[in-house]
């Protein structure tokens, strides 16, 4: 490849040379000049719609959006003259003018990009007072709610939904002052092709998208003396929750998390990681069956596709229904934990299952939808999971309760659903389910422990991986994808029969659960979905894994005990009844 052409320019009188095609904003970044921005996101296409990032370019008759204008030879850029600062401030003030004045009561208060921008620009007074838009909010969604009055039309949600997730559920409707963002025909979220991943919530600079709150019902359950309130926390919570309390990103916080949950008043604190271990044992058994390795041959087609990510399952049902037989029938770890809590645990502790209230703390908003699915109800008619809190909701509850998280002592998860292997921990990051499955399957195939524990080749940090892994006599063709646009690449190959995969892991969110739609808003000056932030969260999980003696799911004594005393063998009828589920095509059908 020939080296790209070099362009010389000056930024605030400082000369520099950059590659041709570099934008003004990128060039500024080289000099440590931070141009304020709103609609811009490095992982999304350029919109240039907010105009907050304007700069002065000598001899140009108008200000230019630095995010979308490439530099040219001899360009002279001025980023911080009084005029340009005034113009940017005016733009932000005009955005504020058409925005509710309810910062103090807004979910995003203190973590709102618009609010931070207004402050940093020096907006201290409201100069403009004009007509303000009003659209009906949609709070009907099981997972995602929409408040268009908060929307500033930056279009990031539209782009993340289309470009990262390949869902194209959102669009701008109408024009001018009447423009509103929403699904086709502004249908309720759950009647649209929304897959409930919540990435729109993550990328929204304000609070135009939020999760459906479950905090009210959880407070109520905790205050109810009749209920035995249990909680489970997903692997990726411990990798991210510290950020909500000013701890450095990537601080592992399992122990403090347990203590915080106990202080909130939960009667038992369980580890979803144990259910992840159960998922692995069941899924590896299912996989080997599909591979024709064991007597359960012919149980389902290859490739087998993992089923832990509820956003992915929604995508499967709406966008790729013909691949439903390929999805593992295993419930997600959340589903398995909730089922076990209301059967195995209830029996063991002689508690009426109807009196158990199960709260799941998840990095995910789609889990709220999953919990409400009829397939995840007990035959007696109650849901196995009663409420799902996102990491964000839990952070707020902890603060609200007056708990100073960073100072908490380390706690331990409760028996009998509190012991987990490192394989369970790494579920929270891309490739984790695959790696955990391979750790388990290697021994199941060969009959002796695998020669290695780490399968770094399946960690799809860049979003998409295809590789071969030797399992005994099988050379297993593995695909791993996170972000559904990436997943489409693999799924289309399966549909077209182009490549014969054996097993595919799909996680709906970029980076896996660590980048989930329910994870903390990023610290100030960190952009959402920042690969560095995701890498730090992933590292926290790998650190926890490496620090454990127990690193393979099938070695987990709690898992063994559950099979011996309750379920029988992996893949048994009882295991199928409690730990497996089914899927079906859903409408409206998505366009892929």
């Amino acid at each position: 490849m020939s080296p790209s052409k070099q362009i010389s320019l000056t930024i605030d009188d400082t000369p520099l040379v950059v590659d041709e095609g570099t934008t003004i904003m990128e060039a500024c970044q080289r000099l440590g000049v931070f141009i304020p921005r709103l609609c811009y996101h490095p992982d999304l296409s350029l919109a240039g719609s907010c105009r907050v990032c304007i700069v002065e370019v000598k001899e140009m008759p108008f200000y230019m959006a630095s995010c979308s204008v490439p530099v040219w030879e001899g360009m002279e850029v001025e980023t911080t003259s009084p005029d340009i600062r005034q113009a940017r401030r005016d733009i932000v003030e005009l955005l504020l003018d058409n925005h509710p004045k309810d910062c103090q009561t807004c979910e995003r208060d203190g973590r709102c990009e618009l609010q931070n921008l207004a402050y940093s620009m020096g907006v201290r007074q409201r100069h403009f007072e004009g007509k303000r838009k009003h659209f009906e909010p949609d709070a009907s969604g099981a997972s995602v709610i929409r408040d268009p009055d908060k929307c500033i039309l930056c279009g990031r949600c539209v782009r993340v939904c289309a470009e990262i997730q390949g869902v194209y559920n959102l669009s701008q409707h109408g024009r001018g002052f009447h423009t509103v963002v929403g699904p086709a025909n502004l249908a309720p979220m759950d009647e649209s092709v929304c897959i409930q991943c919540g990435q729109c919530i993550n990328v929204c600079p304000t609070a135009a998208f939020l999760e459906q709150r479950h905090t009210g019902q959880v407070w109520a359950a905790l205050a109810d003396p009749e209920l035995h309130v249990v909680v489970q926390a997903a692997p990726s919570i411990r990798a991210a929750i510290g950020e909500g309390f000013g701890m450095p990103a990537g601080t592992p916080a399992s122990g403090k998390l347990v203590t915080a949950l106990r202080r909130l008043g939960f009667d038992a604190v369980f580890d979803t990681d144990l259910a992840a271990d159960m998922t692995i044992v069941e899924e590896a058994t299912e996989f080997l069956g599909r591979l024709g390795h064991q007597s359960q041959a012919g149980r389902g087609p290859l490739p087998m596709i993992t089923s832990c990510s509820p956003g992915w399952i929604n995508f499967l049902e709406k966008f790729y229904p013909e691949l439903i037989p390929h999805a593992s029938t295993c419930k997600s770890p959340m589903g398995m934990m909730s089922s076990l809590a209301k059967t195995y645990y209830a029996e063991k502790r002689r508690i009426d299952a109807k009196k158990i209230y199960m709260v799941a703390v998840m990095p995910c908003v789609a889990k709220k939808y999953e919990a409400a699915r009829p397939e995840h109800q007990a035959p007696e008619g109650y849901p196995y999971t009663d409420a799902v809190l996102t990491t964000r909701e839990l952070i707020w509850m902890i603060k609200c309760h007056g708990i100073h998280f960073p100072d908490l002592p380390e706690g331990e998860f409760d028996d009998p659903l509190g012991i987990a292997s490192g394989a369970g921990d790494i579920f929270g990051t891309t490739g984790g389910v695959m790696e955990a499955t391979l750790r388990a399957a290697a021994e199941m195939v060969t009959g002796k422990p695998a020669d290695r524990l780490e399968f770094t080749e399946v960690r799809a940090v860049e979003g998409l991986r295809e590789t071969y892994v030797a399992l005994g006599e099988h050379n297993v063709h593995v695909g791993v994808a996170n972000g559904l646009q990436n997943a489409k690449t693999l799924l289309d190959k399966v549909v077209q029969g182009k490549e014969k995969f054996h097993v595919i892991e799909v996680m709906a969110c970029p980076g896996g659960c660590i980048g989930g739609g329910g994870q903390p808003y990023p610290p100030e000056d960190t952009k959402v979905l920042d690969p560095e932030l995701l890498a730090l969260r992933a590292k926290a999980l790998y650190t926890i894994d490496q620090g454990k003696k127990l690193r393979r799911s099938q070695d987990n004594p709690a898992v063994k005990e559950i099979y011996e005393s309750f379920l029988g063998a992996p893949g048994s009828e009882k295991a199928h009844q409690l730990l497996h589920t089914h899927y079906h095509a859903k409408l409206p059908r998505g366009i892929r």
């Binding site: 669009s171 409707h173 699904p183 087609p301």
Partner: protein, 184 residues
């Protein structure tokens, strides 16, 4: 085995049911040609010509058959002024809001129309007979203020003319309503 969970045939059949055959055929022709997405607006014009407006169901059907995300189709349909998303009345009332008409009191005429019909701009009366729109200059400034009902021009309209004007069309509608059952 994997075909059993695929609902494409039902989805396609349901979409075809919502559109007349010639539009389905047109879409199929677009799909065979280059850049079918670029024909979306042409298809929407045809749908509107057939139904008089673009209903939610028709938009969803177009999305499925053209394989363009429904949000995108709805976004295009709602962006352009020409596309109507609601059924329109039997008669279209256009009040000229050009400068001459406005100066001569078009706003008062429009106000009276809204009061008489109980609707705002771009709305349709509850009996489904009238839809009210404002228009740019109709080029008959000598008659200002001008109101156009369907293709008929009414000049020098005063607010007090409004009930008489409406009654003309209401009477016509009543007659049609009484004649129709007789023919059945």
């Amino acid at each position: 085995m994997s075909t059993t969970t695929d609902n494409w045939h039902e989805v396609r059949a349901a979409a075809c049911e919502k559109l007349p055959d010639e539009i389905v055929a047109m879409i199929e022709e677009c799909r065979r040609g280059p850049q079918p997405d670029s024909r979306l607006i042409a298809v929407l014009h045809r749908v509107q010509a057939h139904f008089g407006y673009l209903g939610d169901e028709q938009l969803r059907a177009v999305a499925q058959l053209m394989q363009i995300p429904a949000a995108k189709v709805a976004g295009v349909a709602s962006f352009y002024h020409f596309f109507r998303l609601k059924p329109r009345g039997k008669h279209m009332i256009n009040v000229c809001l050009g400068t001459a008409c406005y100066v001569k009191g078009a706003d008062r005429v429009a106000q009276r129309l809204m009061e008489e019909l109980g609707i705002a701009w771009s709305e349709t009366s509850s009996d489904g007979i009238f839809t009210l729109e404002g228009s740019r200059c109709l080029g008959t400034c000598g008659l200002a203020p001008v109101v156009m009902v369907d293709d008929e021009i009414y000049g020098n309209v005063t607010p007090d003319d409004v009930p008489i004007l409406l009654e003309k069309y209401l009477k016509q509608a009543r007659q049609e309503a009484t004649e129709k059952p007789a023919r059945v």
